[in-house]
């Protein structure tokens, strides 16, 4: 799995939009191939027989852009076309080398924040660890 894209897909939408806006002047002219919301079917693996089956569909927003031959893509949960476009802009900037250091710093900081949030959740989960004793 691509860690950078995975971070961009989960990062706070407002922070992503604010950062992506700063990239627009440097990116220059881009072509928007797709900006839409729709559904992604999510399959799951059955642990009894090993069969993959469809759990259901998830509402997602998608943006697909291009600058020359280089593609930028964003897909995030929910209906937020601005956020998916912002993700695509950051992806395109990194792929074309536009303000790559800034993009990397943004992604690294957000990855750390997401990891911290996950750790907070998991420390709360750990508080519920139980050691059963039988009598």
């Amino acid at each position: 799995m691509d860690d950078t894209l995975s971070v961009l897909a989960r990062v706070d939408a407002e922070k992503l939009k604010t950062f992506a806006e700063t990239l627009i002047p440097d990116l220059g002219e881009i072509e928007v191939l797709q900006s839409q919301s729709g559904l992604v079917m999510l399959p799951m693996r059955d642990t009894a027989k090993g069969v993959a089956f469809h759990l259901g569909e998830v509402l997602m927003s998608e943006a697909h852009i291009r600058k020359g031959e280089v593609q930028g893509y964003g897909m995030r949960r929910g209906h937020d076309l601005e956020a998916s476009m912002a993700m695509a802009l950051v992806d395109l900037a990194m792929a074309t080398g536009v303000r790559r250091a800034d993009c990397k710093a943004f992604c690294d900081a957000q990855a750390e924040a997401l990891q911290q949030a996950d750790d907070d959740v998991l420390r709360r989960v750990e508080a519920t660890r139980v050691n059963m004793e039988t009598f």
């Binding site: 894209l5 995975s6 989960r10 559904l39 759990l55």
Partner: protein
């Protein structure tokens, strides 16, 4: 279909919908947010039964229908059909689940240990009536542990397979785009396993519980023990146009395995659904466990439980009976009268003394 061969009543119909909606009044984004934040387990249930994951849409459907669950699920299922499918994600594997709760009733010392996670299993069920007197209900905060729980937990059934208690699952080479899909093809019997599990994932919770409970009480062949129950978040692994895979976010899922102890090895039933809904998963897994060899027409027979737990179809069929059936019903009455007349014509003439005191019993129309 002659069910609604009727005209008139347009004004009454319009006013009746207004009367329904008047009770809830108008609503806006704030109410949708409030529903979403205050009723997460109801949101989960609706998303699971609608087979559509989006908390905002589920909260909107609940706000719009005043909490009429069947109507809310119907709205979401209908809306779903208007949307394009962007991709089919990669299958979620159990060992990639970001796990919040994982317990086993079969073994206390499972690999990775047991975390209770969010649950009311051991809580006192006392209604907080003080709130109605103006008191604030403020739950005590969780005291986090110093170290985080492992995000990913091993599989109990894999450990049992290694110890020869269970037959390991077979490899399924089916690519994501080729997984049988009930939303695009009919449910036929014997059902493909992918159809069975998809159907249970979107089944109506109460229906699954009723039939699963019947099996648990003894109307099935196998008594379930919860091998593993998980509440978790699953990554949505999608593909960038250049081929890179990434997680486009997480969704809450529930997963249950139940086992039966007859024979030389354990037999296992499985179910999963969107959202956190343990009752549905345990009941559905119990039906899966019981379905092999189930008697035709029994509650644990696949065709029986899959058809009868499909919430939109079953609630729709149920409520259609209240719609005007005047033509079909009158036709049935005509047939009854005809049969009665023929029977009367064949019967011997009553004597004059027997005819005294007879009254006409035809109902008024």
């Amino acid at each position: 279909m002659a069910y609604v061969a009727t005209r008139g009543g347009e004004r009454a119909i319009e006013q009746s919908e207004r009367l329904f909606r008047e009770e809830m009044g108008g609503f806006d984004r704030d109410r949708v947010e409030e529903v979403k934040k205050s009723l997460p387990y109801l949101i989960d249930r609706v998303m699971g039964e609608a087979s559509l994951y989006d908390e905002d849409l589920a909260a909107l459907a609940l706000a719009q229908t005043g909490g009429e669950l069947y109507e809310a699920v119907l709205l979401l299922r209908a809306w779903r059909t208007t949307q394009p499918r962007l991709q089919v994600a990669e299958p979620v594997e159990q060992d990639t689940l970001f796990t919040h709760r994982r317990i086993s009733a079969a073994f206390k010392d499972i690999p990775g240990g047991q975390v209770l996670g969010p649950t009311l299993d051991y809580a006192h069920r006392i209604l907080a009536t003080d709130v109605l007197q103006g008191a604030l209900y403020a739950p005590d905060p969780v005291e986090p542990a110093d170290t985080p729980s492992p995000a990913y937990q091993p599989s109990v059934s894999a450990w049992q397979s290694e110890n020869d208690l269970l037959d390991p699952p077979a490899d399924d080479p089916t690519k994501s785009n080729n997984i049988p899909d009930l939303t695009r093809e009919p449910l036929l019997f014997p059902s493909k396993r992918a159809h069975t599990l998809q159907s249970l994932a979107r089944a109506e919770t109460g229906g699954v519980l009723a039939l699963g409970y019947a099996a648990m009480r003894g109307y099935g062949q196998a008594h379930p023990t919860v091998n593993e129950l998980r509440l978790a978040e699953a990554e949505i692994a999608v593909t960038h146009p250049d081929g890179r895979q990434f997680s486009a976010g997480r969704v809450k899922v529930s997963q249950a395995e139940v086992v039966d102890k007859k024979g030389e090895k354990l037999s296992i039933g499985y179910a999963a659904t969107f959202g956190w809904n343990e009752v549905k998963c345990i009941a559905a897994a119990t039906l899966d466990l019981n379905s092999p060899g189930a008697e035709k027409g029994s509650a644990t027979e696949e065709e029986f439980f899959l058809y009868h737990t499909e919430g939109v179809e079953s609630s729709g069929f149920c409520i259609h009976f209240k719609l005007p059936h005047y033509v079909t019903f009158q036709s049935s009455l005509d047939a009854m009268r005809d049969a009665k007349a023929k029977k009367a014509a064949k019967a011997p003439e009553p004597s004059s003394s027997e005819a005294v005191g007879q009254t006409k019993s035809e109902p008024a129309e």
